[in-house]
């Protein structure tokens, strides 16, 4: 497929392809981070993760409509407001769900799967009733559209760069919160041994509620960011859920570093194969590779060593 191209042309295509891989990596990390916290740290299989993302997307949609009709001058910056609101909305709903449903199921991890799946169906129908069955179009500020020309032939999408920056920012914040704060220490203590953590005076219920809320809130931010690259409809969350679980499980459920490593591996494999093979084949090969590796190493790429 490369006959008749100059070296410079090929070089720029590969450079853009490298960026495509990095953007896919950022998207994967962003969508998996929330789940990695909820599934990895709390052991809750949250099938409604995609719907929390779409809640964030709908908040962005409402926000763009509201701001363009009331304060058009703010429109270029609305996306930041929308992301904060998306975090608050999804996080609040997450805490409500934890209080109303999840906290009764901590001892029955498989039941959380069914319960949250039911929740995802309910949320989908709520979106459908409130916003209509059709997808909504989220209007982006102009500065987020288009691409940056690095050289004459290399063009990089701005929204891709934005997602990359956002992912790095959020990852840094999560790292600080989980590994450098007292609260994060509490979360990790509860995860490792709930009874002991309670015995030393950690309010485990409160930790659970905020952890679940944090995971859902990050899902909301991810959903808000994905309005730039994807669709916003009642069932759009389903588009992300498989990839999200794939990344988290492959990385080793309890390790945030594993999640990032696995997102990197899967995204690079997929985007390279998509370029050289065709779309469906690339997906099949990616999934096959993941299956084989998980057969050899069922605990995932990275695993925390914990005495059980």
């Amino acid at each position: 497929m490369f006959e008749g191209y100059s070296l410079a042309e090929l070089g720029s295509i590969f450079a853009m392809q490298g960026f495509a891989g990095l953007i896919l990596f950022s998207v994967f990390v962003l969508m998996a981070l929330g789940l990695a916290i909820i599934f990895g740290q709390m052991g809750v299989i949250n099938m409604a993760h995609g719907e929390f993302m779409i809640l964030g997307a709908y908040v962005t949609y409402l926000c763009s409509n509201f701001i363009s009709s009331t304060a058009p001058a703010l429109f270029p910056a609305y996306f930041f407001i929308a992301m904060i609101l998306a975090f608050v909305a999804s996080g609040a709903l997450g805490m409500l769900v934890e209080w109303g449903m999840i906290r009764f199921l901590y001892r029955r991890p498989l039941d959380t799967l069914l319960a949250t799946w039911g929740l995802s169906l309910i949320l989908q129908q709520v979106f459908r009733s409130v916003f209509g069955a059709r997808e909504v179009g989220v209007v982006l500020p102009d500065w987020l559209m288009g691409s940056v020309a690095v050289t004459d032939t290399i063009e990089v999408p701005i929204n891709g760069l934005f997602v990359m920056a956002l992912t790095m920012g959020i990852t840094a914040v999560i790292y600080a919160v989980m590994f450098r704060s007292r609260w994060g220490q509490g979360v990790r203590a509860v995860m490792q041994n709930r009874t002991m953590a309670g015995a030393v005076g950690i309010n485990t219920e409160k930790v659970d509620r905020y952890t679940f809320g944090l995971g859902c809130g990050i899902a909301g931010v991810a959903g808000s960011a994905f309005t730039m690259v994807g669709s916003t409809g009642p069932t759009s969350g389903q588009l992300y859920i498989v990839d999200t679980f794939l990344v988290v499980v492959f990385g080793g459920a309890q390790s945030l570093v594993g999640t990032i490593a696995s997102a990197f591996t899967i995204s690079q494999a997929q985007s390279t194969m998509e370029f050289f093979l065709s779309g469906s084949t690339a997906k099949v090969l990616t999934l096959l590779t993941v299956v084989v590796i998980l057969m050899l190493r069922p605990q995932g790429l990275f695993v925390l060593k914990v005495r059980r």
Partner: protein, 424 residues
């Protein structure tokens, strides 16, 4: 079916007034259909004579079914068809119904699940004994209900453009089969844009694959080149790699049949990657006004879509149809190709019943050939012996406001050919 005017008569009492106003507006939009005085037909044609197979027909009413997904992922697409079918039925009832009988609708939800479609189809045919069903959207749902319609001898009016390779006594296909949608569009883009190379991209299931197979044959028969052919799983959301591949192969035309949520991702990411659709020719067979809502007009403006109907079509039938649709379903409604095809179903059925002077499925299956509907929003259509419609192919150019400018239409109606020789 010769007269271009009709007398709508007085509205029937008993309807709440806002609805009646809507229906009246709808009536103003009624296409041309001749009509006997209300009730006269029912007396002239006793139920025993017009219904020999125990369908749900009485002296004053006839039951039909609407079977679409109003929940689940396909609700996005199928909502428009339901609305169009209900509009057509309301208009027909305002005119006195079919053979003097009011149409009563039984609506079932296929829930985007193909076995559910089959089960609901069985319910409509066996328990409700409906005289006709307007429904289905995806090919998968149609394939699921087809054996049911053939076993219990029902009649299905199917609105979606689809891949062809099917024909049944029990189905009238009011959308285009693949050759009707593809060939004329390819010829146009070759002639107008001097296209020599094509990049085919689609979602990975039967309709895009069959359509691209036909497109590839046609392209290669003309000595042009296909420089890439790619398929992505339904729901795929990352297109950056294939966009790079498109940049590398520099096709004259990108030929797209990506569907669903993937569609939105595809166009947004192309725009973000700096592909300007005003310079790069893109032709799609999967984006109608409905899909534009989700994609956002600004992300797809400049692309060409190959359809048989656009909401912006300028003819008296369409202007009335659009006004009636908006009066019934709200001023912000948009009408896509399939929605219009859905609207044809009840009208074609009414005309066929009146021609056959019977509700019997067997008689309708035979009488369908040659049925003409000059009141169609897309313009005059006729039913072919193979139960598909003769219709024009049109090319529209997407505008930022979510509508299309019609830039081309075929001079003649294109013959439906669900089993195209040389293309398989």
């Amino acid at each position: 079916m010769s007269s271009d005017k009709f007398d709508a008569g007085k509205p029937v009492g008993g309807l709440p007034s806002p609805l009646r106003r809507k229906l009246l507006l709808g009536m103003a939009a009624l296409p041309a259909v001749g009509l006997l005085p209300r009730g006269a037909l029912a007396q002239a044609l006793p139920t025993d004579a017009v219904n020999t197979t125990k369908l749900a027909v009485t002296d004053s009413t006839v039951k039909v079914g609407i079977l679409h997904s109003t929940t689940g992922t396909m609700a996005i697409s199928e909502t428009g068809s339901v609305q169009a079918e209900k509009l057509a039925i309301a208009q027909i009832n305002e005119m006195g119904g079919v053979l003097g009988r009011k149409i009563e609708v039984i609506q079932e939800d296929g829930a985007s699940d193909w076995p559910t479609f089959a089960e609901k189809a069985r319910k409509l045919l066996v328990e409700d004994k409906v005289a006709a069903v307007f429904g289905c959207w995806t090919s998968a749902s149609r394939k699921a209900v087809l054996p049911v319609f053939e076993q219990y001898n029902g009649m299905l009016y199917y609105p979606t453009f689809y891949e062809g390779l099917e024909q049944s006594k029990n189905v009238i296909y009011t959308g285009q089969e693949a050759t009707q949608q593809i060939l004329a569009g390819l010829d146009w883009v070759t002639k107008e844009k001097g296209a020599k190379s094509f990049f085919l991209i689609g979602s990975d299931y039967i309709w895009p694959r069959t359509s691209n197979k036909i497109a590839r044959k046609h392209i290669e028969m003309k000595g042009q080149k296909v420089v890439g052919e790619e398929y992505f799983p339904l729901g795929h959301t990352q297109f950056n790699s294939v966009i790079n591949k498109i940049k590398l192969t520099k096709p004259d035309v990108i030929y797209a049949s990506v569907v669903g949520g993937s569609n939105v991702a595809f166009y947004k990411q192309m725009k973000a990657a700096g592909i300007d659709l005003n310079k790069q020719v893109l032709m799609t067979i999967s984006v109608t006004e409905d899909e534009m809502l989700g994609i956002g007009g600004e992300n797809i403006a400049g692309a060409y879509a190959c359809m048989k109907y656009f909401q912006s079509l300028q003819n008296p039938n369409n202007e009335k149809f659009v006004a009636a649709f908006k009066a019934m379903w709200g001023a912000n409604s948009v009408i896509g190709d399939v929605t219009q095809a859905g609207y044809l179903g009840p009208w074609l059925w009414k005309l066929t019943v009146e021609k056959a002077k019977s509700f019997d499925i067997d008689k309708i299956a035979v009488a369908s050939e040659g049925i003409e509907f000059s009141g169609a929003p897309e313009g005059y259509v006729r039913v072919h012996g193979n139960h598909h419609l003769w219709s024009k192919t049109r090319v529209g150019r997407a505008r930022p406001d979510g509508q299309f400018d019609v830039v081309y239409e075929t001079a003649d109606l294109i013959e439906p050919n669900p089993f195209p020789k040389g293309y398989q």
